[in-house]
């Protein structure tokens, strides 16, 4: 079970990711999107989920039991090639329902000290 003390804590990302045109194109084309100038609205997941996974696995949760429950994006600045992103993840809530642990993590994709995209993932760790 997640240590309740971790709820509310922010885990700063340790590395910076440069968004490449190739990665935007691969993601867009996989979704049938022909506009390749701007990343699709769900592209942030390719950065945010890895960071959430690393934070939650380090906190003792079993990633092999995870199911994605809910997902939300708030896009302040659309992602484009060349942006240098760091990703900070905050554990916003954790609760246990019928033995399943339900954790919401907000990941902020930050460019030049501004949040470009916030991504909320609610993850269900099955009992």
């Amino acid at each position: 079970m997640l240590n309740p003390d971790l709820v509310g804590r922010t885990f700063p990302g340790t590395k910076s990711t440069t968004i490449t045109q190739e990665s935007i194109e691969a993601f867009a084309l996989a979704l049938g999107e022909s506009n390749l100038q701007v990343a699709p609205p769900t592209y942030a997941i390719t950065i945010s989920l890895e960071q959430s996974q690393s934070v939650l696995v380090d906190s003792g949760l079993d990633w092999s039991r995870v199911v994605h429950g809910d997902q939300r994006f708030a896009i302040n600045k659309p992602l484009v090639a060349g942006m240098q992103i760091t990703c900070n993840s905050t554990i916003e809530s954790a609760r246990v329902v019928a033995g399943n642990e339900i954790v919401t993590v907000r990941s902020d994709l930050i460019e030049s000290d501004e949040v470009a995209v916030s991504s909320w993932s609610t993850l269900v760790f099955r009992a």
Partner: protein, 133 residues
């Protein structure tokens, strides 16, 4: 530029999901969980068959929203709940039908309530977007 009116029903669009598309999405997204590619593995963990990545289904819905909005650049908010898995048997193109109704409209943005259906079942719940006008 399109004009959006509250209550307006936007035209539906069909997407077709198959195993090859899931492999392509796995590579593009980095999510290589074998439940989305390997039937034997999927069954071994109690699933009826390979299932689509929830984020793939949401991504296709995102493509619909981008198209309706006039480009990904106009999508400000997007959320969904993964209520039912999209089961993808071998050698089948599973149809995902996406449609939307316009909610509240302001001078600068419009809310959309989106529906995503496979085999007559809603696969996403609480699917909403805010697009800039």
């Amino acid at each position: 530029m399109s004009t959006f009116i509250t209550g307006q029903e936007l035209p539906a669009k069909s997407f077709f999901i198959n195993r090859a598309a899931l492999v392509t999405y796995a590579h593009a997204s980095g999510d290589q969980n074998p439940i989305h590619q390997n039937e034997e593995f999927a069954r071994s963990v109690g699933l009826e068959n390979v299932i689509a990545h929830g984020m793939y289904t949401m991504g296709l819905v995102g493509q619909y929203i981008s198209e309706v909005a006039g480009g990904s650049v106009k999508v400000q908010e997007f959320s969904a709940r993964f209520t039912k898995p999209v089961v993808v048997p071998a050698d089948v193109d599973v149809e995902l039908i996406v449609s939307a109704v316009v909610g509240e409209v302001s001078e600068t943005s419009a809310k959309l309530e989106v529906t995503a259906i496979c085999n007559d079942v809603k696969v996403l719940g609480m699917t909403k977007a805010v697009i800039s006008l």
